[in-house]
């Protein structure tokens, strides 16, 4: 499903250059879930951004199914994202001026793939039923994160990318949320790549990879 080949990325500023990725190779099959670990600043978020086509790489290839992401125009990347990807970030996941219900449907509507039955099931399993009319600022951090997961899964993506989705949650809730996500991922049959600092959570997925010194070990 996902195939990253020899990917490299260097951040350049006026003062200095930071070589974050130096030839990353990574392959994830459909239906497979992979945990990405590595110390802070090792480039995990950067890798996710490149895979999602949110930023440009300096070299290498990113294949999602049969499409090379890095060669696409902005419009084509946008199409790819809304049709095939689900993204969950550390922060800034929700639109503050939209209700929870609208936030959940955000991407599905963009992709013209709004499935009320599937959304209802997500709401039910994520335990968001009570708060559909609320706004993000009226939710706790964990609740916001669950809305973000729901939004990403609502489109039934081919590839789900999550950047520390449970970073704000206590252990028990984090376990809950991850169990749920894994279940839903398994049901929709998508590939799942999750960044995490927690070895315990990483162990719950099919496979673990470790990013160190700009490479996958």
């Amino acid at each position: 499903m996902l195939n990253v080949v020899n990917l490299s990325k260097t951040y350049r500023s006026a003062q200095d250059e930071v070589s974050v990725l130096r030839g990353v190779d990574l392959r994830i099959a459909a239906g497979e879930s992979v945990a990405l670990t590595g110390e802070s600043g090792s480039g995990k978020s950067t890798l996710l951004h490149l895979i999602a086509g949110l930023d440009d790489a300096d070299g290498g290839e990113v294949w999602i199914a049969t499409t090379q992401v890095l060669g696409l125009s902005d419009a084509a990347r946008a199409t790819l994202r809304r049709q095939q990807l689900g993204l969950i970030f550390q922060q800034f996941n929700l639109v503050p001026s939209l209700s929870v219900a609208d936030n959940l449907a955000l991407q599905a509507r963009l992709a013209d793939r709004h499935d009320p039955a599937w959304q209802a099931e997500l709401v039910e399993r994520l335990g968001l039923g009570e708060m559909m009319k609320r706004y993000p600022e009226q939710l706790s951090g964990g609740q916001q994160q669950r809305v973000a997961i729901g939004r990403a899964l609502a489109v039934k993506p081919a590839l789900l990318l999550a950047d520390e989705p449970t970073g704000n949650l206590d252990e028990a809730t984090a376990d809950d949320v991850l169990h749920l996500t894994r279940d839903l991922v398994a049901r929709s049959g998508c590939a799942f790549l999750m960044v995490t600092h927690s070895a315990r959570l990483a162990a719950m997925l099919d496979r673990q990879v470790h990013l160190h010194a700009g490479r996958i070990a």
Partner: protein, 821 residues
Amino acid sequence: MSRALWILAVLMSHWRRHPMQFATLVTGLIAATALWSGVQALNQQARASYDRAAAIFGGTRTATLIDPAHAVFPQQLFVDLRRAGWPVSPVLEDRVQIGGRSFRLLGIDPVTLPPEAAAISTVGPRQLAAFIAPPGRTLVAPETLQDLGLRDGATPQLNDTVTLPPLQLEPRLAPGVLVMDIGMAQRALNKPNEISRLLVGQQTQGMRPPLESITGSTLQLVQPDAESDLARLTDSFHLNLTAFGLLSFLVGLFIVNSAVGLAFEQRLPTIRTLRACGASLRMLTAVLIAELVAISLAAGLLGLIGGYLIAAALLPDVAASLRGLYGARIPGQLALDPQWWLSGLAMSTLGALAAAASSFVKMARLPVLAAAMPAAWHETQQRWLRLQGGLAMSMIFTAAGMAWFGDSLMSGFALLATLLLGAALALPVVLDATLDMGARWSRGPLINWSWADSRQQLPGLSLALMALLLALAVNVGVGTMVSSFSTTFLRWLDGRLAADVYISATTDAQASAIKAWLAQRHDIDAVLPSGRAEVQIDGAPVEILGLADHATYRDRWPLLQATANVWDKLRDGDAALVSEQLARRLKLDVGGRLPILTPAGPWSLGIVGVYADYGNPKGQFAVNVDAMFEHFPEALRTRFGLRVAPAHIDTVVNALRRQFDLDSRQLADQATVKTESKRIFNRTFAVTTALNAFTLGVAGIALLTSLLTLGNARLPQLAPLWAIGLTRRRLAAIELAKTMAVALVTALLALPLGLVVAWCLIAVVNVKAFGWRLPFQMFPLQMLTLLGVAMVAALCATLLPVLKLARMQPAKLIRIFADER
């Protein structure tokens, strides 16, 4: 399509949660459109009425033949001239009374009417028959119809015996005029075979024999009055209005710009989420533009309604100004064509897009991820400041160049525009430097923080501050100009109205009778004969004023420049004082000569002085009255002034009025003339003052709205301070002090800028627009008042957001602190 609509809905949801920001945007657009379109409506109205005035047959633009000695002359002369090949057409004109109101009755001959004189096509071939054949037609403007209280087709009664031809509506005709066939006019006025003047067409087929050989010396050819082309004459006035409208529009756009900028900034997380979820940049841009266009169309429509109201409110003053300054009449009813609505909407939409352009460019440049950090907008601040500083410098240099080399009204306005724009652009740079200096000199962490924080706040505030700077500077400038003018004008009036009583007799015979009667009285100190004549210089008519040689003038008549013994030289005959306007237009100097052609032959005048002649659209020069009558034996001797001791003025005026049945136009005392002149003067600047106040008001709104929107954006900076132990009230006080300090610095900068603006208006724009230059004066009290008003406006604008902060629920602050959002 549904995707675009969904994106639009997501973006618009922001406004629902931030109605204040939305109100800011809409207010800015409404204010901008209203002020601009209001001024345009006034201009359009005036233009339309000039066209109508010109449409009076042969009103101003055609050469005419008149009998200088008599009001009318025999129709036979028309027949003779026509036979001799002169392209002439007869006109009979007189005033008539209908229902107690006075109208101008014009009789014309549509068959011979020169095409350039007939601005109205109604009297074309098709209507010709109805116009000429009995019962004929009386063409009238809609206003005239209203004044008469009659409908189309009615036949008004002139007196017991005469009934006018049926009325026919002609919208392009000027108000107060009745137009009919000359034959019917002759019957109605009981002036058979008589005409008032002949219009001379421009077409010259073959040679026309000299006038004298046909009509003897009866008729005199009067060239078209170049200066009475009202549209041209009043151009400078309209340019003034337009400049004001444009300024208000720009101030309004400042509001729009800051509102759009803040909306973009606050919606960045949303935009980023949308992009992450698969909305392309192109789609987002298109939707944002569509949103802006929709908003600006709606707000523009409201603005147009506001503009209509403004124009309707100001129209009486504008009409009075135009009448006072140029003798142009415009009706008091506002009529607007569809073009006005369309151009108003176009202005508001294009203005909004222009105001948003920088935001769009920034959004397109920002990478998806960086867009998540509002700080990215500020990172470039220093670079922007440098760029802005450079731009400001080049603007100010351009302005200086314009002041040095420019020599036209347009360059005068360009000078003002570049100066104001340059100053506005320089403002943030100056403020930034000031705050930086303050931060360096201050001790203590809190004070230091507050300086640094003010600096950070600057980009969000600077547009509103620029608007404040511009509005204040223009207010100071225009205020100084009007006050300078007012003082000068009043002093000048005192000297210029040298005599105590002014008389203008109807005929020379009456004038002699009055003089004889006056000679009998001993409450008259002196009779000052004066004369008036007109000559053509460079194709434009110029007035000649004949002045008696009397101590009154030597003592009082105000001169701008003069040679030694100027009055003695004037008495000797071949010398003239020229008005400032004429001197500027013909580039005349004291010591130079002014050759003119008089009925008695060429006359070369030495220029011995220049005098101010404020408010006179025509050029003028003064000579000794006896010398004038020598060269203009035909000139009327009907005007003269009297010197009377103040105590006797009323007695003399009343006696004269009783004795000779003189009305207020023929007899006036100095005080009355002065009052009337002041009244005209004040009305002339009423419009300017009103627009001035509007602009300041809009600037106040700009400040308020920016502060309100900024208030929210600034909470993340304030929340940590609150968390580490500053009370909300203390924070609010600091906020208040900071904003007021910045506003004060801006206002203080506006004062010298305003004086420079005043100088530009007085020394450049007025000179070009009106032909006179005023002495520059300062009015410190007025400036202090304005400073006070500006500070109160700033205080009001600051208070609301600060109170909001002081009352904010701790829970909200906690969340902001925790979420940093």
